[in-house]
């Protein structure tokens, strides 16, 4: 289980680098639709989702995992706040972790703040079910 998780993380990370997502500037060039727009990330998400759509169905059933389905204020507010941070820094969680290999100050500061931000979300006024 440990080895397969490591292997999946390794392959996931190689995909992030090959696709360009590990480069925050390229991510921001995608989100910056009024600037010098780079549509590459549409193909990253398209390629990834094409694969998961093709294979997830039976695997999800076999896994017996259960998922929240509620579309509520927490979901929308959380996603909105995440997007604000993503557009400011150019890192979402996966690319931020694999970008640690750059040994750059911005990657370390971002990851430390991201871990702290996740723990803040557990403080009672923000804490809720399913997150």
């Amino acid at each position: 289980m440990i080895y397969s998780a490591f292997g999946a993380g390794l392959l996931f990370g190689i995909g992030l680098w090959l696709s360009g997502m590990a480069n925050p500037r390229k991510v921001l060039d995608f989100l910056d639709v009024t600037g010098n727009w780079d549509p590459s990330l549409l193909l990253v998400m398209g390629g990834a989702v094409a694969v998961t759509l093709s294979f997830f169905g039976p695997l999800i059933r076999k896994s017996k995992l259960e998922f929240p389905t509620s579309i509520d204020v927490r979901l929308v507010a959380g996603a909105a706040i995440f997007g604000l941070g993503w557009g400011l820094g150019g890192y979402c969680p996966g690319p931020a972790l694999t970008a640690l290999a750059n040994l750059s100050a911005e990657a370390f500061v971002f990851v430390a703040a991201m871990a702290a931000g996740g723990l803040f979300a557990r403080i009672p006024p923000f804490k809720g079910p399913g997150a």
Binding site: G9, F12, A22, G46, G78, G83, N102, V109
Partner: protein, 142 residues
């Protein structure tokens, strides 16, 4: 559009999708990076090993990739205060919303979840607003 890299981006996306299928098939887990990372700090000890292994794989992929190319040294003029604020927002928002680009995006859309589709539309939209404000209004060199 001169930076458009369709072949590498599509191929990289396919690898990301395959890695997600792999984790689901072998470990019966969703490859949602924010949830995996957060659980390293909050889940019971027995549930931390695979999470740490996945994160270690992600980081090792970076070192492996860089050994064949060169590291990205970080952005000139992009202050660490902005990096810290961005990290806080990403960490907080992904936990409140229950997922990120991988959990809601790659995996949630892959299992046809309406909840995830809503999340993806929202964070894409606020991401576009945020980069507009950061780059074109505040003039942050990102």
């Amino acid at each position: 559009m001169e930076n458009f890299t369709p072949v590498a981006s599509l191929a990289g996306g396919v690898l990301i999708g395959l890695a997600s299928v792999w984790l689901l098939a072998a470990n019966h887990r969703i490859a949602g990076v924010s949830t995996i990372l957060h659980g390293m700090f909050t889940q019971a000890a027995a549930d931390r090993g695979w999470r740490a292994a996945f994160v270690a794989g992600l980081v090792c992929a970076g070192f492996l990739w860089i050994s064949f190319s060169s590291p990205n040294p970080g952005r000139e003029g992009f202050g660490l205060g902005w990096a810290a604020l961005a990290g806080l927002l990403v960490g907080f928002g992904t936990r409140m919303g229950g997922g990120c680009t991988s959990g809601h995006g790659v995996c949630g859309l892959g299992r046809r979840s309406l909840r995830s589709l809503v999340a993806v539309c929202v964070f894409m939209a606020t991401g576009m607003i945020s980069v507009f404000l950061a780059r074109h209004v505040l003039g942050i060199p990102s």
